[in-house]
Symmetry: C2
Subunit: 426 residues, 2 copies
Amino acid sequence: MNSLNKISGTEIIQMKTEGLLTAEEVMQDCLKQVDVREKTVKAWAYLDGDLALKNARIIDKNKKSGRLSGLSVGIKDVLDTFDMPTQMGSSIYKGWQPTTDAACVNILRNAGAVIMGKTATCEFAGSFPSLTTNPFNLAHTPGGSSSGSAAAVADTMVHAAFGTQTGGSVIRPASFCGIFGYKPTYNIINRAGLLFAAENLDTIGLMARTIEDIDLIASVLLNRSLSQTPDENSQPLIGVAKTHLWNEASPESRTAVENAVKELSRFGAKIVETKMPATFTSLTNVRNTINDFERSKALSWHAAHHQNQMSDNILKQVQNGNSISWDQYRAALEHAESARASVDAILKPLDFILTPSAHGEAPKGLASTGDARFQGYWTILHTPTITLPTHSGPNGLPVGIQIVGPRYGDTSLISWAKWVTKIVSV
Amino acid sequence: MNSLNKISGTEIIQMKTEGLLTAEEVMQDCLKQVDVREKTVKAWAYLDGDLALKNARIIDKNKKSGRLSGLSVGIKDVLDTFDMPTQMGSSIYKGWQPTTDAACVNILRNAGAVIMGKTATCEFAGSFPSLTTNPFNLAHTPGGSSSGSAAAVADTMVHAAFGTQTGGSVIRPASFCGIFGYKPTYNIINRAGLLFAAENLDTIGLMARTIEDIDLIASVLLNRSLSQTPDENSQPLIGVAKTHLWNEASPESRTAVENAVKELSRFGAKIVETKMPATFTSLTNVRNTINDFERSKALSWHAAHHQNQMSDNILKQVQNGNSISWDQYRAALEHAESARASVDAILKPLDFILTPSAHGEAPKGLASTGDARFQGYWTILHTPTITLPTHSGPNGLPVGIQIVGPRYGDTSLISWAKWVTKIVSV
């Protein structure tokens, strides 16, 4: 059997359960892909092939088959792992070895997943990039800050990976790399063992090459059943949210949404245009206020002891954050809360919202990971969103569409993602 | 000069700024008190006198005087410190040395506070007690889980201390030990570097012997000015919230509230009885659901690797948490959100709510730290609350009264706490 790394996680688990393969064989194929591609893709911050194989053999020895038995998973390098260093994309944490696993990591291990390694991240899950490239075109950014997770999954080095999103760090790299990305409702995937960037925003998310894999992993993390697959004749009511950012989207992102609207209508979807409240135009600034205030606190010790090891990108945010007063921060928190109540009301009559995943396809160059506004808008709203790898742009790079559900409506949103995926060409 | 440990933090800082004392002299007096009392009070999980004095000398060498210059502070042992071990009240973390300071710790250091040591905590900030005793009567519990913080502050070993509250872990020990305790609005004091118990509830709070000290430290943490001191002739509208727990409170707790009502009325306060919605009677169970679900995730690695080092108390919560489904957890999160919206509306016409701090005075015995329901009710509502050490009970032990403000109304609530403190005998 060849190229087990390319098969979907759900199929791998099925075959493992039927005794048709071992976790070690799966990991061997994943590592073969790494051998071929890692030199140029640079997706991993830490990857010890022997340790990954050892982790696979631990699963093979366990007679009780878990729901994720044999699945290979990459862990963004801001999440603790007891058996691998966690280096936060910062030389301040060079070689740092946590004592424990992050909650989300150990829950996957308990279910039989094989932790393969740590994926490259922007410094402190911010904007200063890792060396990772876009597997579709090495001259283009993979997006960030979960750069390595997106690139490794897209390049079939691993089946799935954790990302984290404070601005656009799950959805944008997933869109740029042509895979599925899922940012859950805020604070439902447990964050114990995550280095905080900005705690009122930080959300642990998932990336995979199929929506079924995301559904399965999320169901384990949240102790729920798989989401239902909607009938193909479903007639969902979809709100197209163009937001104030619509005119700043590249043609390829607007075309992707408009094309999806056409295809979904043909299959029975009812489409309405959803106007977002005028106060939502300030969500970008409000998110920046919360982000900078909280980052300046979370990195207080680092700035006091290791300022010379921090990038200008992050120092600017820390300095700005230190200048924000409680009154400004409080106003931002209250604005965000009130917007969340509004978006609950907007989503109530709809099955989901459809909107661009990102500004466009992945920009050329590795110095910036791209524009976070199209994702950050929903991050501060705490709504679950999923990017689907449905289209491509003028340079042949992937372009996603983003669907958004009401807070805590994650399971239903994943169901609708399955339905959309069947209809809109992936 | 003698007994600098007994003077209020605000006065210490003033004298330090005027050159009337050094941080080292302050710390020497704090350590003298420890020498006399620690053998019986057992407030500290880690205290190295030489390191505490070294931390004081660092402040004395700094020519720029910070807003907290010379203040001695104790840190609950679930918050990271780069120069002292952090042991979580669990043998699993015996001798564990973090790399960094928690955000809240370094912010205080930057402002000139002297970190004295780590205070004893219940295992993982839960219910399995430390060895700490109540300084007023060594046969009685100091309350928990921030047991050492409350006992050390009450016993004048240290000027102030951090606690954390997931159920009742700041307000109850502060009430039992006869000091001020402040549980802020959820998620405004940065939690980077805190070991999570249950992240939708965990709130970092403060303990001190004067409300002015709490105001000052909070103002540094939040980058705000000091709260205003209300005119003595103010006529606040106070809602007395008896809640469904009122009849379960001991006579001394009910008497404390009723006595405060009388005294405040005499000084011009307008008093109304505030009926809480019927749905709020389930808040105790809803909090338990969120608590157990999240604890089971946060301690997933610990239970997998070190189950034999965990108490029955915490293992029961983990096991219960693992049996809670996503649908049950989601229902609890949504119930809590809806209750928060209701309490916003209830508090809108009021200046603050007055309610018992705890069931009563500290119970006898050290095996349990007491009933968390009177505090947990407000923890899940995310409202700021302050306990004031105003009364005493039949055994001569302290009994507090608790005041509650609207979310994000912390500064105003602290102002009212100053006003109440002037009127109700402390």
